[in-house]
Amino acid sequence: MSELRPILLAEDSPNDAELTLEALADNNLANRVTLVKDGVEAMDFLRCEGAFSKRKPLNPVVVILDIKMPRMDGIEVLRAIRADPSLKAIPVVMLTSSREERDLIQSYELGINAYVVKPVKFAEFVDAVRKLGGFWAVLNELPPENLHNH
């Protein structure tokens, strides 16, 4: 096993970002977590463009998306990932405060791997994130990296 793949977290709210990072940190994951503030930055990271043009082209082990983000929202990011042959195999998880059915339905139609509603209670939130991180970063086997066409 060469380098550990990173976890990409797209979250515009600094508070939510901090709490999510705290929760992920509780898992004692070795994977590096990269935080971006919106969908555009998330796509730049995934495609190694813009600020991330110097990054080592390695797909993240999981992308955690908030739905409501400026410029490009979580649903649009998901659609772009699934439409890109080099990115479509990446596991994507929605971590959102939206309980709206249409968000849920749209996400599953676009091929989301998991949809998690952020609980108000932090303990439950930590638990949810722990399960997410544990499963996608540790247990889940990804297809070989040669699918990545950089």
Partner: protein, 517 residues
């Protein structure tokens, strides 16, 4: 109404008078004509019969006078007959015709026909039988004075019977007549011997000596005339009345047809108007609907942002409080910990409130499905969720067999969850908790009831029970947001039902709702 009838009655009356008076007048005129024509016909018929008889008699007179008497005189002149011989039976035309008429009447009698009265009347007869009475005498004078008059006729009444009396002048004396009717001494001796008086003698030529008269009963003819007149008149009257009624009927039918056509036109116009109004209404409904739809969309957007944006800061509060407690516990004293706990529980309570509000809003606008619902099965699911059997003492559930209903499964489930949840919550402090669910069919709808023996409520606050955020207990006594029963009411109303409650403080509560069958 009264004005209308007052207006129409005189009109109706003149109409009826018109209908009756005109046919009556026409019928009377026609009846007069018919009567006149029939009388003329029957009278001339009777006259013809009379003339027939008279002419037949006159023929016999003429035969006697022109054939028999010359033969007699010739035979006498030739002395074949004794000069003194005379017999009225074979020589007097008056005698012979009179007696011949007696035989005629005898034959008539035998044939069952009415006898015909016949009289030859003379002012100067040999036989007193032929003596003219006063009237007949005046008639003879009348004929002599008015030579152009050839006949006289009159309808006379004898013993209530009608007769046609007919008379013609007779026996205009000529020179031949004077052989027997001239001077007495010139007449045959036999005649002179037979008639000792002056009767029948001393006549003058060119004068009518007599009249022949016949009286014939015409009662039958008159009856026939009357009957025919009456029956024909009645027939004509009926025809005229029918004609008038038919005309009036035609007028009424055409009036009615016209008014019906007008009515149909009105209806047609009304329909067009209704269609116009309908389409206007539809357009307005469509406009209003689109306004409502956009308002609904705005509401949805609002709910979405509430759900997303309002929950985020709550989560942050809870998250940071948790981090504070776990990372900085040592730096907080007991009071500080209490404050932080309060902050966390308030945030959680607000989260629940927001979730309930969103749920309440969603029950109002979510699309409703119409499916068959097994109430008993649904209730069992809800009870399983509410009561894991760990409560002590155990809750005593009494669920009757309930009918199936039609409605939205998820929404009706919410109703039971809220009602049964309340029952569980408010019997918590009971020594024995009993919750009953029953149903009843009343006035075309099913009434469902949930009764418990919990803390109940004071009926004076019953009106507040179903209001949003209305609570009858403090948060310390019984937790809750005051939205559950409002949600129940909204769901049941959307199903076309009603909700109400009964209760008594510390003696339990009963909640009822109806669903249309």
């Amino acid at each position: 109404m009264n004005i209308g009838s007052r207006d129409t009655e005189p009109g109706k009356l003149t109409g009826i008078l018109k209908v009756i008076a005109l046919p009556v007048l026409i019928t009377m005129a026609v009846a007069g004509l018919i009567y006149y024509a029939l009388s003329a016909f029957f009278l001339s018929d009777a006259e013809d019969k009379i003339r027939n008889v008279l002419f037949s008699h006159r023929g016999l007179h003429h035969y006697i006078q022109r054939v028999m008497l010359p033969s007699y005189f010739k035979a006498r002149d030739n002395s074949e007959v004794n000069k003194s011989y005379y017999s009225p039976e074979i020589l007097s035309s008056s005698f012979i015709v009179r007696n011949m008429h007696s035989f005629y009447n005898e034959e008539m009698r035998k044939a069952g026909l009415p006898e015909v009265y016949y009289k030859m009347a003379s002012v100067n007869p040999r036989n007193p039988v032929n003596m003219a009475d006063e009237f007949e005498g005046s008639l003879i004078r009348y004929f002599n004075e008015n030579r152009e008059v050839r006949e006289y006729r009159k309808i006379i009444n004898i013993d209530g019977k009608k007769y046609l009396y007919y008379a013609i002048p007779f026996l205009e004396t000529n020179s031949n007549c004077l052989k027997c009717h001239g001077k007495r001494q010139d007449a045959p001796p036999g005649l002179q011997n037979l008639y000792p008086g002056e009767g029948g003698f001393n006549e003058k030529t060119g004068v009518y000596r007599a009249i022949e008269s016949i009286r014939m009963p015409i009662n039958d003819e008159i009856s026939a005339t009357l009957i025919s007149t009456i029956s024909l008149s009645v027939g004509i009257a009926v025809m005229i009345i029918l004609f008038f009624f038919n005309k009036r009927l035609k007028i009424r039918v055409s009036d009615k047809t016209a008014s019906l056509e007008a009515e149909i036109n009105e209806h047609r116009q009304a329909r067009v108007e209704i269609q116009r109004l309908n389409s206007e209404l539809e357009q307005r409904v469509a406009e209003r609907t689109s306004q409502l739809e956009s308002a609904n969309k705005e509401l949805e957007a609002f709910c979405y942002s509430v759900s997303h944006d309002l929950r985020a800061p709550l989560r942050h509060i809870d998250g940071y409080v948790d981090l504070l407690i776990s990372r900085c516990r040592g730096g907080l004293d007991e009071k500080g910990l209490h404050y932080v706990d309060t902050i966390a529980s308030s945030a959680r309570q607000m989260g629940i409130l927001i979730d309930d509000l969103l749920q309440f809003s969603r029950t109002g606008r979510a699309e409703m499905r119409n499916e068959v619902i097994d109430m008993n099965q649904l209730i069992n699911e809800v009870i399983e969720m509410l009561d894991d059997g760990s409560r002590s003492p155990k809750i005593e559930w009494a669920i009757e067999k309930l009918p199936q209903v039609r409605g939205d499964y998820a929404l009706i489930r919410q109703v039971w969850a809220n009602l049964l949840g309340n029952a569980v919550k408010y019997t918590r402090s009971n020594e024995t908790a009993r919750i009953e669910v029953s149903s009843n069919f009343e006035n075309g709808e099913t009434v469902f009831a949930v009764k418990d023996n919990g803390v109940g409520f004071d009926m004076q606050y019953v009106s507040k029970l179903f209001g949003v955020f209305q609570r009858l207990h403090s948060q310390e006594q019984f937790e809750g947001t005051g939205i559950g029963l409002a949600t129940v009411q909204r769901i049941i109303n959307r199903h076309g039902g009603r909700v109400w409650a009964e209760g008594k403080l510390n003696h339990g509560a009963a909640f009822y709702f109806t669903l249309p069958v």
